[in-house]
């Protein structure tokens, strides 16, 4: 539980900090600091158990079916990283409180910071690999927010974007790798994965798994060739760089290497991939660092190089190398964070980070200069400082590597070369900035920073010294615990002493120090040479930009290809794709088992006649489609055949619904035809028509085959429940209706809501509609007076129809009928009045606001459903009882009937809104058509 709190407190802090921030700038910083301190305290309270060798795991099931658990783990490695994240986090918060200018929002900054901190803690404390990945991606996202914190600056936005693209892309690779790993091991829990090295490394999928996971680690830890995002991320505020880009986020990649070390390392593939990446990064970035003029640029490349060193160590795959790697993680975090903070102080007080202008600052800020010098010396690997110790261990490891016989000298030589570069760039950082003449045209006169801003640097530099002088007393136990957390095995023998006697490794350190000083002294020649050989910017950033451009161009090309604005083409592509996929699936699974023998529906003359009628009417609709009035008549025939079919196949409710909907639909389409051209122009040529016919035919054959397959396959239904429960549970014997208003009442409620929305949409579409004169072929029915006979007959029909509707409505629960059907019947009866007597006449007599009818219907349905809450049942539970009415007899009243009444009212309202609104436009109240003359304006 404590473990969970450690992760949750910073995440919660992301919410609390802005709340505190409302009370003042410093309150936000205090809140952030206090929460970090609490989390640190909790972590320390668990530390004794970890030092005693325990692995703490807390687990909660999240989506157990997918192997996803909300599980956390604290072992030595997690403890080390947790301490780094929270400890340095605390220092960075203190530093940032003085670093940010009054223009920057403290609340926002610290909220992002806390979010990042929580995500980072999640990465290092996750037991479940998928959970780890979620936090991993969260660090990429929060880093995006932090790098682009000064979002008015283009370089900040660009830097954040590049960082997100690279680390986010790497995260996706990692996801794939983790999924493969989980597939191999059968669990995503680290405890299981770490114990399955043999299983993993002998699996066929090991190579892709390893490569994908390494891609995640290398992108995050800025290994070549993915390193370029880190220098661009330097546009971030310096506290962010000190925190994310030296101590925490970039360490996530090497953390992953350390975490997966027991499971993945040891084999040749691991060795070659990881050492190559590490070695190239180590040397290349150390070289580039020397030539950066930007203070933070130098530090960024030096960070990349040092991360390469750590990667290289883990690549060796030996236990001792892993110890050295962990040690260097600690040391690098301390000296690099303090150097970033020093760089931030210099930038803050001098107004620039350009080393060509920053010179001779020693006399302006001697105290800061001393701190920076100690940290830089640690970075260079000067004895008595922590960097020296881990570098010495590194050199020993390169010498002991027994992989290559004849080339055994190569890695130590390159390591020494990188050491030379490191000394040279450390020296440049100190000498160029603090000595080397006078400041060159600085924006402001530099001076020492506020007292509190120096404290974090002092703390870190003190640590560098203490670890460097008394390694065994200070860092010894933590290193041992962390290293055993990495290895998940007993530790090898190693010594943390400063003095190991004269040996080759000491010689390498000596060569690096002397060579570095010489290299720096000859820098003017080197700068000239560098400028001549590699003029201008070069490298991965340009390739990245080119790739992004290429991607965008390809996307545009594809969009133009598929999206030319023609709906007809989209439709054809859609149908074509569906037919193709269907054909492919049919080919895959072999032809459907077409057997005539399993035919279970007996042939019957009536049914055959209806079906043939259906087919003929459908084909007729297509053949006549260019003459719209006859086509609509044919469409009506199709609908009528359909309702007959429903009658024949025991679906009376469907038949009634289909019949009434058909009437309303055809009236609607005929009304629409009043406004639209009566004939379809011949738009498409013969080729297009044949293409469409082929597509349609393909789809039709596909659906027919599918239907046949469904009809002839064994049948199992879940309807037994509904049939059994309809009377005892729903109180009605018309099962279809009971399903609609009771079992699936919530669906029905959603449905009538959708209908109501459609009605509102239609109402909106018809506002301010201007109808231009129709084409000359239009029929003139609008002005024709309705036949007298119809007018006379229709009036007594209305009350009769209303009574039929009432009857259908009341009996709906037990016999064919119900709200939908009754509503449609009333709608038709009302429309008949409009048709027979004209819009004006009817409007004058039927002053009903149909929107109110819809609203009342919806509310009634909703309230009936909600009423069951009041009596303590789940939403839309129904109840019923029996009443005895004279004449009608025993008569059952269910609360579902009130619901059905709501359905009824809604359907009436909707039908009337749709048809009456449209009808109004065609009557004498219609907007006057705009004449041709007006139109030509």
């Amino acid at each position: 539980m404590t473990l969970l709190l450690i992760v949750l407190i910073p995440l919660l802090g992301a919410l609390l900090v802005p709340v505190a921030g409302a009370r003042g700038r410093m309150a936000a910083a205090l809140m952030a600091g206090a929460l970090t301190a609490i989390a640190l305290g909790l972590l320390l309270s668990l530390a004794p158990q970890v030092f005693a060798g325990e692995v703490l795991v807390s687990s909660w099931a999240w989506m157990a079916d997918f192997g996803l658990y909300f599980s956390f783990r604290l072992d030595g490695l997690g403890l080390l990283f947790g301490l780094l994240i929270l400890g340095i986090g605390l220092l960075v918060i203190l530093y940032a409180a003085y670093y940010l200018s009054p223009k920057d929002s403290m609340s926002k900054f610290f909220a992002f910071m806390m979010l990042f901190m929580g995500a980072m803690l999640g990465v290092v404390l996750s037991e479940n690999l998928i959970l780890l990945l979620i936090f991993w991606e969260l660090t990429s996202l929060t880093s995006f927010l932090l790098v682009s914190f000064w979002r008015h600056r283009a370089d900040a936005r660009q830097g954040a974007r590049i960082a997100l693209a690279i680390t986010g892309g790497g995260g996706l690779c990692l996801l794939a790798g983790i999924l493969l790993l989980g597939e191999i091991v059968g669990s995503y829990e680290l405890s299981v994965v770490l114990a399955s090295a043999d299983l993993i490394q002998n699996h066929d999928l090991f190579a892709p798994t390893l490569i994908l996971i390494l891609l995640g680690a290398f992108t995050k830890s800025a290994q070549f060739p993915f390193h370029f995002w880190l220098p661009h991320a330097m546009a971030a505020p310096t506290p962010v760089s000190a925190y994310l880009h030296s101590a925490t986020m970039v360490k996530a990649g090497v953390f992953l290497l350390a975490r997966m070390h027991p499971a993945l390392s040891g084999g040749d593939l691991w060795f070659y991939l990881v050492t190559t990446a590490g070695l190239v990064t180590l040397v290349f970035a150390a070289y580039v660092a020397l030539f950066r003029h930007d203070l933070k640029g130098l530090l960024a490349y030096s960070t990349i190089s040092q991360l390469g060193l750590i990667t290289l160590l883990f690549g060796f795959g030996t236990p001792l190398a892993a110890v050295a790697g962990v040690f260097h993680i600690i040391n690098h975090a301390t000296f690099k964070a303090s150097l970033f903070m020093a760089a931030g102080i210099i930038d803050h007080e001098a107004g620039t980070r350009d080393m060509r202008r920053l010179n001779g600052l020693f006399k302006y800020m001697p105290y800061t200069a001393v701190l920076a010098m100690v940290a830089a010396a640690a970075m260079a690997g000067v004895p008595l400082l922590n960097g020296f110790l881990s570098k010495e261990m590194f050199f020993v490891e390169t010498l002991e590597l027994q992989r290559f016989d004849d080339w055994a000298w190569l890695i130590p030589a390159l390591a020494t070369l990188a050491g030379v570069f490191a000394v040279a760039y450390s020296l440049r950082f100190i000498h160029d900035v603090f000595f080397n003449g006078e400041p060159n045209n600085l924006p402001k006169v530099p001076h020492e920073p506020p007292r509190w801003m120096k404290i974090p640097v002092e703390v870190l530099v003190t640590l560098c010294l203490l670890v460097g002088i008394f390694p065994a007393f200070t860092v010894g136990p933590l290193l041992a615990t962390a290293a055993s957390g990495v290895l998940q095995a007993p530790l090898p023998e190693y010594s943390l002493a400063i003095w190991h006697g004269f040996n080759l490794a000491l010689m390498m350190s000596f060569v690096a120090l002397v060579g570095g000083v010489l290299f720096y002294l000859s820098r003017h020649y080197l700068f000239a040479l560098h400028a001549r050989l590699l003029p201008g910017e070069f490298g991965a950033k340009q390739i990245f930009d080119k790739m992004i451009r290429g991607l965008l161009d390809a996307a545009r090309w594809l969009t133009r290809l598929l999206e030319n604005g023609s709906l007809q083409r989209y439709m054809a592509l859609l149908v074509g794709a569906a037919v193709t996929v269907g054909l492919y699936a049919a080919a895959q699974h072999g032809a459907i088992n077409f057997s005539m023998s399993s035919s279970s529906i007996p042939f019957n003359g009536v049914a055959i006649a209806i079906l043939i009628g259906l087919i003929l009417a459908g084909v007729g609709t297509v053949l006549l489609h260019r003459h719209r009035l006859p086509a609509l008549v044919m469409l009506g025939v199709v609908g009528l055949c359909l309702s007959l079919l429903f009658v024949y196949f025991s679906a009376p409710d469907l038949a009634l619904t289909q019949l009434s909907v058909e009437v309303v639909t055809i009236i609607l389409l005929l009304l629409a035809l009043h406004f639209m051209p009566q004939e379809t122009m011949a738009d498409s040529g013969n080729a297009r028509r044949w293409r469409d016919a082929a597509l349609a035919g393909g789809a039709g054959i596909g659906v027919a085959g599918l239907t046949w397959a469904v009809l002839t396959s064994p049948f199992e239904t879940l309807s037994g429940f509904y049939l059994e429960q309809s009377v005892p549970g729903g109180g009605g014997s018309n099962v279809v209706n009971v399903i609609l208003v009771d079992f699936r009442g919530f669906d029905t409620f959603g449905e009538i809501t959708v209908l109501a929305i459609a009605a509102i949409g239609i109402h909106a579409l018809l506002q301010n509609l201007v109808i231009k004169p129709n084409d000359p072929g239009r029929y003139g029915w609008a002005s024709a007076k309705p036949p007298l006979l119809l007018e006379v007959v229709s009036r007594p029909l209305l009350p009769l129809a209303l009574m039929v509707a009432l009857y259908l409505m009341l009996r709906g629960h037990n016999a064919p009928g119900g709200g939908f059907i009754a509503g449609l019947v009333v709608g038709i009866a009302l429309i008949l009045q409009y048709l027979a007597s004209g819009v004006e006449w009817t409007q004058a007599r039927l002053r009903i606001n149909y929107f109110k009818v819809i609203a009342v219907g919806l509310i009634l349905s909703l309230l009936t459903g909600a009423a069951s809450w009041v009596v303590g049942y789940p939403f839309m539970t129904t109840t019923f009882t029996y009443l005895y009415w004279p004449v009608v007899g025993k008569f059952e009243v269910a609360s579902a009937m009130v619901f059905d009444l709501g359905v009824f009212l809604t359907v009436v309202g909707i039908t009337m809104v749709i048809l009456a609104e449209l009808g109004k436009l065609s009557g004498p109240l219609a907007p006057r058509p705009v004449s041709n003359k007006e139109e030509s304006r």
Partner: protein, 109 residues
């Protein structure tokens, strides 16, 4: 009988899709209506087809048709009406505003 029913559904779908591929809004609306008939019939048929067995509970009934697809199709019919209505009005509005009834809103040749 299954052959004939499958054929009828196939025909409805084919006719519907052919009309939906046409360039004029009214044809598309009619096509969509035909297609939804086909789909409704397919859904209905997926509950198997029997005669004289309406799902009305009574002691005399020997068998019942599957009521669940029927309930689904019933709402599908009504929703289909709502959709057709909306589409038709949209077509009218497009014709009123654009002066033509091409699906892409541009006048034909």
């Amino acid at each position: 009988m299954e052959v004939l029913i499958s054929t009828a559904i196939g025909f409805l779908v084919a006719c519907g899709i052919y009309l939906m591929l046409r360039a004029r809004t009214m044809d598309v609306v009619i096509g969509l209506t035909l297609l939804s008939y086909g789909v409704n019939l397919f859904l209905f048929a997926s509950g198997r087809l029997v005669s004289n067995a309406a799902a009305l509970i009574s002691p005399d009934a020997a068998a019942y048709a599957d009521p669940l697809p029927q309930a689904l199709v019933l709402t599908a019919i009504v929703i289909g009406f709502g959709m057709t209505a909306f589409l038709v009005v949209l077509a009218i509005r497009a014709f009123g505003d654009l002066g033509n009834d091409h699906v892409d809103g541009k006048a034909g040749k």
